[in-house]
Symmetry: C2
Subunit: 411 residues, 2 copies
């Protein structure tokens, strides 16, 4: 008998029929003698409907009240799922975040979990009940309803799994696992059986939006074995776990990419201390997130400074940068919003040299010009012209033999 936390997202509970299908899956696991806690999101579309209502009331809706409003979405789902389980003769009991209670700080709309009281849940599990918990929400010390931000249901599930010391936390989604790259770009992309937390973090932050980053961090921190599976099909999914010896064979686990990037360069900047903050400060003030940052070695006392932003922020950032350029007496500001970032990710890089040079050679062989390069311990990212995206991903996928299980590549 094992303890499992299952999490089903909005699409998986998007209709009464879907909720019944979820109940079916939960009941099967319960019938096998396992103790099951289910975390659910709002039915798909409901959160957006509520946000729409809020915006009709207030241009910038009050955040405390927004949390009161949005938390009803999951509350509806937990009640309906519990009813479906009752109808199948499976004892169940629902809880809101506040009822559990999932204590958070008081940062409305983006609260962080501080503590989970597991008493009621454990008592219900011991009594043979399935426990159905509203994801995404909690309560602060003063009793105000809080929410964890979009995708927060993943975090709820992982936090509950940690608190209950669950055997595994299953994140049911509309994909059947984590892939070596996006199958829409490379049809030979393969589902990974396992991936490490670190790799998953790099993959997720780079655009493979299967799991919320915070949930993966949380799972890594508390060593919760996380499994991504399909709500609709069968299969084992992908297990996200700590690095094991078996994994050391893997050089590269996957290829992530991000189409939403744009780059900005300011040239002829005086090469003096504090220049980076003078350039990026005004950008940050506008809440524009900066991704890659590259500063070249200075020549003739000036330097060139390049960074990437989300494509939606390109024009706004360029405008600011032109002002900054004048103040700094820089040479000029150039930009390009037709770029993509491609990254290869793998814990195997740590112990194997030559991965970067292999990557660059593959791109060179295809005559793909590399615009920017950035590396971390387990990831190498390049920025290239967006027209090369598919070609680059497929060439890298083939070279690193990602379509074959067991990572047979030897350099």
């Amino acid at each position: 008998m094992a303890v499992y936390v299952f999490k089903f997202g909005g699409t998986s509970v998007g209709s009464t029929e879907r909720i019944k299908a979820v109940a079916d899956k939960v009941k099967q696991a319960h019938d096998q003698g396992h103790q099951i806690v289910v975390v659910v999101s709002a039915m798909s579309g409901e959160t957006n409907r509520l946000i729409g209502l809020a915006k009709q009331m207030q241009v910038q809706p009050n955040e405390r009240e927004m949390d009161v409003l949005l938390s009803t979405g999951e509350q509806v789902t937990v009640a309906l799922l519990s009813m479906a389980l009752h109808e199948m003769g499976c004892p169940a009991c629902s809880y809101t975040g506040s009822q559990v209670k999932i204590l958070t700080d008081n940062s409305h709309t983006k609260a962080r979990i501080q503590e989970i009281d597991d008493k009621k849940i454990r008592a219900d599990l011991m009594a043979g009940k399935v426990v159905v918990v509203a994801g995404f929400q909690g309560v602060d010390a003063a009793g105000n309803i809080t929410t964890l931000g979009r995708g927060g249901s993943d975090t709820t599930a992982v936090a509950l799994a940690a608190a209950l010391n669950a055997d595994e936390c299953h994140i049911y989604t509309d994909v059947d696992g984590v892939y070596t790259t996006d199958p829409r770009v490379e049809p030979k992309a393969r589902r990974l059986n396992k991936i490490t937390f670190e790799e998953m973090l790099e993959m997720a932050s780079l655009g493979s939006k299967v799991l919320q980053i915070r949930a993966v961090e949380f799972a890594g921190k508390y060593n919760v074995a996380l499994r991504v599976l399909s709500s609709f099909e069968g299969g084992e999914g992908t297990l996200i776990t700590y690095e094991e010896s078996e994994m050391e064979k893997a050089l590269i686990s996957g290829i992530a990419f991000n189409r939403d990037e744009a780059k900005l360069t300011i040239t002829g900047v005086p090469d003096v201390p504090g220049i980076a903050s003078k350039i990026l400060g005004p950008i940050a003030e506008l809440n524009i997130e900066v991704d890659m940052i590259i500063q070249n070695v200075a020549e003739d006392a000036t330097t060139d400074f390049t960074f990437t932003v989300h494509r939606n922020d390109f024009l706004k950032a360029k405008e600011i940068l032109q002002k900054v350029s004048k103040e700094l007496h820089a040479r000029e500001v150039t930009g390009d919003d037709n770029i993509v970032k491609i990254s290869i990710v793998g814990v195997g890089m740590r112990s194997h040299a030559g991965i970067a040079s292999t990557m660059f050679k593959v791109l060179a062989d295809e005559a793909i010009n590399i615009i920017m390069i950035s590396t971390s311990e387990i990831k190498i990212s390049v920025v290239v012209d967006e027209k090369y995206l598919e070609l680059a991903v497929r060439s890298l996928h083939a070279t690193f033999n990602l379509e074959q299980e067991g990572y047979p590549l030897t350099l």
Copy 2:
């Protein structure tokens, strides 16, 4: 400066526009320096939508989960109304029943309020905020969400008014007060400025569905001055309060009627002790509510027994009664579902004789045959053929001079 509790029902908050109109009304009172607590229902249609979802999940939805589900309706409204108030620059804070907390027993879907913690509300009022409370809901001692049953928002408002010792509790609805009778039947019907709790109870239970009966009982018990007003029009509405000397002039306050009645008679029943329970027991077992009950004086050791039920239950009740009739060796079972009950209500009856005989004379003058009669201290009800409803109501309204303020009738 006064403390008011305002309650707005589902129609009054049925759209974002309506919610803004409510916010406007609330802000006006707040701007005048009053302390305002607002109790709101779910947006009209929402409760039925949720019930529809529940029935898709479970034939007989689990009552605990039903309360979790339905309570989201008011939670949405309190958040939206608070946002609307914020947008107008009026400080506001929302509370669910559980947050307040409104402690109830654990009878899911029909819980009763046991205690209200007024600390948070008083603190907010002192801080100059409008407090917006979700009606219809509470929480039991174990932390389960409970609901008070349909119309329970009225009860929430009255209970809060009692707990806060409010100056008045305003129930905003789609009528502008309590009328001497239904204006659709008698266009001369007049809005009452005042009515006593007891009269209101008799009027409500007889079909003038302006206020929930339990709320009126509660208001009477805790001496909460209750005012029924229109959400959409202006006006003073009707104040429901204790009997005052001024009121003693009133003989009759109003005429209530009920079109949903049907009568059943069993004749030739042995006149022995326990016969009423033998007849009504099987009816009660089917959850059929019996309204008027009349047993005539026995002749030749048998008696006739007549009672009324809701018209929807007529056939079911008749079937049962025929079985009972055989067992008791009664003569026969007859029934009529083309009847109505008409009642005149007024605290003035207590001190004035002759009201009943006046009523009977009016009906006799119009050649209306009285089928059944039943009386209480402040009410006289008659059952007549339904074709006489309008004629009877208008004749009584005229005879008792109800269209004129000040109750000028002298008998």
